[in-house]
C-alpha cells in the first residue's frame, strides 16, 4: 500500500490533531453517555487461562450490535487490551495494523509514560456489562475517532481498507442516538436506567402514523436536526410538567 490509506485525526496529516480523536477524556467523561464503540475503561476484570486481572480495555463491539434491546448492553462485550505505547508518528499510523493508537488518551496521568496508549486488536477478551461497570471509563471517542477505529479494526480482521467517511454512513445514526440519550439523561437527571429507557422509548415512537420511528429517521442525516428539535421541545414539556 502506498500513500495515506489510513486516516489521521485533524485536517493536516503532517500535524495531526490528536484531541480530535476524543469526545471526552478523564473527568470530562460523564455517566449519562451510553457505552459505545471505542470507549476506554480502566480497572476491568478480564479472565484468561483461569486467571483474572484488572486491565485497561477498549470496547470493540460495533455500535449496532452492542445492545440487545436498545438500553442494556449485551451479556458479552468484545474488548481489546489497552496498554502503554509510545506515540506513533503520522507515518507509523500507515502501518501497525494490529493496533489502534490512542495518543494523549490520559493527558493528565501522573505518569507521563502512561498518557499515550494503544489498543491491541490481537489481545481481546469478552467481558460482561457488570465487569465494564466495575471499571472506570476514561475516554469516549469522537465520531471521527470511532470511524478511524473501525477502519483500522476492519482492516486488521479482513485486510479491506474502507475510507472513514464511508463508515460515517453506518455509524452516524447510532452515534446520534447516543448523543440524544446522553442529552435526555443529563437534562432529566434522576435514575440513569429509567431515563435511558424513557429516551429510547421516545426515539422508538412514530411522530405520526405515516412517519418512520424517530430512531429510523436519525439514520438519515437530513432528519436529525428535526428530531433534535423535537426532543428538546419534549424535554421542556417534561420539565414544565414536573411537580
Amino acid at each position: 500500500m502506498t500513500g495515506r490509506d489510513f486516516d489521521l485525526p485533524g485536517s493536516d496529516d503532517d500535524n495531526p490533531d490528536w484531541g480530535a480523536l476524543y469526545a471526552a477524556v478523564g473527568n470530562e467523561v460523564v455517566a449519562e453517555r451510553p457505552v459505545f464503540t471505542g470507549d476506554v475503561f480502566e480497572g476491568v476484570p478480564v479472565t484468561k487461562n483461569g486467571q483474572t486481572r484488572q486491565r485497561a480495555v477498549m470496547v470493540l463491539h460495533h455500535p449496532c450490535t452492542i445492545r440487545s434491546d436498545g438500553v442494556h448492553l449485551n451479556d458479552s462485550i468484545l474488548v481489546a487490551t489497552v496498554d502503554r505505547h509510545r506515540r506513533f508518528t503520522p507515518e507509523e499510523w500507515q502501518g501497525n495494523y494490529d493496533k489502534m493508537p490512542l495518543p494523549a488518551v490520559a493527558p493528565h496521568h501522573e505518569t507521563p509514560g502512561k498518557r499515550d496508549r494503544a489498543a491491541f486488536f490481537d489481545r481481546f477478551y469478552t467481558v460482561s456489562p457488570a465487569d465494564l461497570n466495575s471499571g472506570t471509563r476514561i475516554a469516549v471517542l469522537s465520531q471521527l475517532g470511532v470511524n478511524i477505529l473501525l477502519q483500522r479494526y476492519v482492516h486488521h480482521t479482513s485486510r479491506v481498507i474502507v475510507p472513514t467517511f464511508r463508515f460515517q454512513d453506518v455509524t452516524g445514526g447510532r452515534f446520534e442516538e447516543a448523543d440524544l440519550i446522553q442529552e435526555w439523561c443529563e437534562s432529566m437527571g434522576g435514575d440513569l436506567d429509567s431515563e435511558s429507557a424513557a429516551a429510547v422509548a421516545w426515539l422508538r415512537e412514530k411522530p405520526n402514523e405515516s412517519a418512520p420511528t424517530r430512531q429510523a429517521q436519525i439514520d438519515d442525516p437530513q432528519y436529525r436536526a428535526a428530531v433534535r428539535r423535537d426532543m428538546r421541545q419534549q424535554l421542556k414539556k417534561l420539565h414544565s410538567n414536573r411537580p
Partner: protein, 208 residues
Amino acid sequence: MDNNVDVAASPARTTPKEAGTGEGARELNESVGVLRSSVRILGQDTDDLHKKTFTTEWHERTREWAKRSVQELLEEVADLGFAWRDIARMMDVTVPAIRKWRQGERATGENRHRLAGLVASCHQVMDDYCVNEVASWFETPVLYQVPVTPIDLWAGQQPDLVLEHASGHSDPESILTAFDPEWREHYRSNDVDVVTGTDGHRSLRVKG
C-alpha cells in the same frame, strides 16, 4: 491573370477594400472580445464586492447577537436543531466545554463572539437566502456524494464559503475546490454501497 487567384495566393497583400466582409467580421469579433473581457472583469469585481457586502452584513448581525448571553445563544442554536458536537466543532472547543457553558460557566469574550457569529450566520442564511431548516442545511453535503458540509466549511475556518454557498452564486465544485483543492482525490470512492441489512441496521457492501 485571374485576380481572385491572386487574392487567395497572397492574402497578406490584400488591401481593406479587397477583403469584403472579412474586415467587418474582424472588427465585430474584436469588439465582442473586448466586451467579454470587460464583463469578466466586471463579474469578478462584482463577486468580490458581493463577498465584501455579505461579510459586512454578517459582522453587523454578529455585533447584534453578541449582546445576548452565552446561554441565550446556546439555546438559540439548540432550538434551531444543531448537535452539541457540531457546535463544539464549529467553535473549535470541546463538547465538555459546551456543556459547562450550558450549565452557566462563563465563556471567554472571544468564544461568545464566535458563538454570536454562528447564530448570526444561521439567521442571515435563513433571512437572505430563504433556507428553511437551517441546521439540516448545515448538515447537507455541498455536493451530492461528497461528504463535505457547511459544518465542515465552518469548522475549517471558512465561514465566507458557507455564506457563498448559501448565496447560490458559486457552483458547488468551486466551493469545494476553495475549501480543499484535492477534494476529488480525497473522496473518490465509487466502490462501496450503503445497504440496509435484514436486522434493519445499515451495512457497507463492496461492489463486486
